[in-house]
């Protein structure tokens, strides 16, 4: 038949043990994390942390096993161009889901800034809300004094946040050049630029930790200091987790590059990691704008 001439076989893997290992891992992580949360707030002792760490260990085993399996198949040439498209599309939709996750927190930030704080201050038709609940409350953003009187200082954009923005922007550029190096077969450019990106990621994380220490010790800006601190820490915190994950991904890619993996036309893993990194950068730019500057 005509179509079989151009037909490339789609690789449908046989049975795999890794998904069920991953399911058990997620189960342990969820149970462990829930117990850690309960124990930490109730000053109780229990096995939460043990279960959580066990879950993370199992997850690590799953990731290593599953990815090794995946890499072996890829290196054995089992994958078709069509499968490559599936992976790329899957990764794009995953990133879209991440965008929506951050959107929930950006939404909370914008709601607090433009609706809940002004309303508590008496804006729109809420004069009596202010009068009855907290008559001394002044609607300001950043919210340095909450309605119940918790005080904090705002984290401005100057200093570390600006430096971090520059670092991440440069890292996006270096990663792009690494990708260009890969596509043009310039392995040296690839290795150095990828290494530089990882280094920049680590510096960013270091600065972020310093910023948190500064916030807690000097500014009195904590997770408990009202909705300004909440949105600040949850947005930058989840972003920081994503940078950590992205750095680990890039590190794995780095070792794969050293082992001679990836060719100019077969490097889905590299592309996915690179997309993820650029996405994390874009989130930071939005963060810088909405959390620090505006």
């Amino acid at each position: 038949m005509q179509q079989s001439q151009s037909y490339e076989k789609y690789y449908v893997p046989a049975q795999s043990p890794w998904p069920i290992v991953g399911a058990v891992a997620l189960f342990l992580i969820a149970v462990g994390a829930a117990n850690v949360v309960i124990e930490s707030t109730r000053d109780a002792s229990g096995y939460g942390m043990h279960i959580l760490l066990l879950g993370l260990a199992v997850l690590l085993v799953m990731i290593v096993g599953w990815f090794k399996n995946q890499i072996d198949e890829s290196m054995a040439g089992l994958y078709s161009a069509q499968l490559g498209r599936s992976y790329r599309q899957g990764m794009s939709w995953f990133i879209f889901s991440e965008v929506m996750f951050f959107a929930a927190f950006f939404g909370a930030l914008l709601y607090a800034r433009t609706i809940s704080v002004p309303w508590l201050g008496g804006a729109s038709n809420n004069a009596m809300t202010n009068e009855v609940l907290w008559p001394q409350f002044q609607a300001l953003w950043p919210l340095v004094t909450t309605p119940d009187g918790t005080q904090t200082q705002a984290m401005g954009p100057a200093g570390l946040p600006t430096i971090n923005t520059v670092i991440l922007l440069i890292s996006s550029v270096t990663l792009h050049f690494a990708h260009v190096g890969l596509e043009k077969g310039k392995r040296k450019q690839l290795t150095w630029m990828l290494g530089a990106t990882i280094l920049l990621g680590c510096i960013f994380l270091y600065c972020q930790v310093q910023e948190y220490i500064h916030a807690y010790n000097d500014l009195g800006l904590t997770l408990q200091s009202g909705v300004y601190g909440n949105t600040f820490f949850l947005l930058t915190g989840f972003h920081g987790m994503h940078v950590t994950l992205g750095t680990i991904i890039l590190l794995v890619l780095f070792f794969r590059v050293l082992k001679g993996h990836f060719t100019p036309d077969n490097h889905f893993a590299f592309q996915a990691g690179s997309w993820y990194w650029h996405f994390v950068d874009v989130v930071w730019v939005m963060l810088f704008l909405f959390v620090y500057v505006l």
């Binding site: 189960f27 959107a103 309605p147």
Partner: protein, 541 residues
């Protein structure tokens, strides 16, 4: 091997050469429990999803029986109010995330690859993962009922501050189990969307895709867009409750109403996640038994897409009484009413498909017809609720309960049952026990209306929802409602028997086409469907 047939809605020719494949390589079907645990086969995973969904349906149903037993008479009879609250909460969570959604994902697993001529789902291992994390998630949720202080008791919508200030410690278990459910849904949706984008057989162009595939494509998009928002909402509940944040606490500058905005931004598209695949199913069944192509195929596609887009801008109609400026209430009222236009297009098209068709009334068609009538009733009561000033009266009454049970039970669940009866012979190769299936249909149809229709009356008369007691004048109707509830619950045991019999391969063998008027690629392959189908893609002309 070449066969030419028609696809239902658009008269396309299909060339299927599925019978060439067995010489390519030999397959043995793995045996035992490990087959199901390690499987990457879309049919196995579809079966797992469907059985899981059925077990959850019976579990959630048992909780509904507790609720109805308590409400059989006024006054507190059987359970403590706090346990009653846990039952309403977990009943809702299980039915939404454990019964309806996994059933549709199971149907998508079974049907989408067969309908588009793909060898399997695009990402088979991830497919396994997205199923197997679900039983663990629901184990955690159900286990939380047995913890000290009890399980979640704040309603499936977990409004702050009920879920923050006033909830018990098991909220942490609830939050993490919802996280896992979300991960499962997102991975499942990514798989469906990539399969449809990338795995269609040559010639299966967008506007030749069967409607179940179209509706699932749009559903998958909605899932990927809103499940992460739910994850964000539960995360904020977790930090508010355990780490002293004040997203939903006015004393720290937050707002409990903000919770409702974030939740319903997820929650309203979620409603369409649970009904769009049902629209697809009905659009397959009605043409088959009316023996006519679907009326208005293209308008069905556009209507589905419009419903999906509109679903993002109507969320606050769940919150008309909780505090919004008047112009926002107006906006959400009109946007909501707009949704009835594309939905009306769909109902019109189904009816127009039947118009002058040569109709027969096999079991799937009975369920499909019941769906069209009863879902429309649920849609119309939704239109009443959309009118802001009217909603001020109806909000949080049994009228709302009646509304969403009409669209979810006689809508989503009936469509799932219709789908099971429609495709079950294709899956097992045997016709199910038609007599029992008809008994299941008639018992369900009558009892479900005894169950939910009087809820309209008590709701309009002002009976509030989620309260274990009620004032005396509602007693008679509530007894009828409870009797209908028990009867509906028992009727589902007939369904269980029919499905078990079918899975044990009892019954008459069926032809490949199964139903005389059935069209589409899935009816071109043998019955029962072989373990692997379309390893070489068919050509759709």
């Amino acid at each position: 091997m070449t066969k030419a047939t028609d696809l239902p809605s658009h008269g396309a020719d299909v060339t299927a050469d599925h019978e060439n494949h067995h010489d390519e390589h030999e397959h043995h079907i793995p045996k035992g429990v490990m087959r199901w645990i390690l499987t990457t086969n879309h049919k196995d995973i579809g079966t797992l999803y469907l059985w899981f969904s059925f077990i959850m349906f019976l579990t959630g149903g048992a909780m509904a029986m507790v609720i109805r037993a308590e409400l059989f008479q006024p006054g507190l009879q059987i359970v403590e109010p706090d346990f009653f609250n846990q039952m309403t909460t977990v009943h809702g969570l299980i039915m939404v995330f454990g019964a309806v959604m996994p059933a549709f994902v199971g149907l998508a697993n079974w049907l989408v690859p067969m309908m588009i001529g793909a060898p399997d789902m695009a990402l088979p291992r991830m497919n396994n993962w997205s199923f197997w994390i679900l039983p663990f998630a629901f184990t955690i949720l159900l286990a939380s009922l047995f913890t000290e202080g009890g399980g979640p008791n704040f309603g499936w919508t977990f409004y702050a501050p009920l879920s923050t200030t006033y909830s018990n410690d098991s909220t942490a278990l609830f939050v993490f189990s919802v996280h896992i459910m979300g991960i499962s849904s997102i991975m499942g949706a990514i798989n469906v969307i990539v399969t449809i984008f990338n795995m269609r057989a040559p010639g299966m162009t967008w506007m030749k895709m069967p409607l179940f595939v179209w509706t699932w494509l749009i559903t998958a998009f909605l899932l990927i867009a809103v499940m992460p928002v739910l994850a964000g909402a539960v995360t904020m509940v977790l930090t508010d409750k355990f780490f002293g944040t004040s997203f939903f606490d006015a004393a720290g500058g937050g707002d409990p109403v903000m919770f409702q905005h974030i939740f319903w931004f997820f929650g309203h598209p979620e409603v369409y996640i649970m009904i769009l695949p049902a629209f697809g199913i009905i659009s397959h069944i009605v043409p088959t038994f009316a023996r006519k192509p679907l009326f208005g195929y293209a308008s069905m596609v556009y209507a589905t897409a419009s419903i999906a887009l509109l679903s993002f801008v109507v969320w606050a109609h769940h919150m008309f009484t909780t505090g919004m400026p008047v112009y926002m209430e107006m906006f959400f009222m009109f946007a909501t009413m707009l949704i009835s236009v594309p939905t009306g297009v769909k109902v019109f098209n189904w009816v127009a498909t039947m118009w002058r068709g040569s109709m027969t009334f096999e079991v799937p068609m009975l369920f499909a017809l019941a769906f069209i009538v009863l879902f429309t009733i649920g849609g119309l009561s939704g239109l009443m609720l959309a009118i802001t000033p009217v909603d001020f009266q109806y909000h949080d009454t049994y009228f709302v309960v009646a509304h969403f049970h009409y669209v979810l039970v006689t809508g989503a669940i009936f469509s799932i049952m219709a789908a099971v009866y429609y495709w079950l012979p294709k899956w097992t190769g045997k016709m199910f026990n038609v007599g029992l299936a008809k008994a299941h249909f008639w018992c369900s149809l009558i009892s479900v209306n005894v169950l939910f229709f009087p809820m309209h009356f008590v709701g309009l008369a002002g009976m509030p929802r989620r309260i274990p007691d009620y004032s005396l004048q509602f007693a008679d109707y509530n007894q009828w409602i409870s009797i209908g509830g028990f009867a509906f619950g028992l009727s589902q045991l007939i369904f269980l028997v029919v499905v078990i019999q079918a899975c044990r391969k009892q019954g008459e063998p069926v032809s490949d086409r199964v139903w005389e008027g059935a069209n589409g690629l899935e009816w071109e392959i043998p019955s029962p469907a072989p373990y692997h189908t379309f390893e070489t893609p068919p050509v759709v002309k």
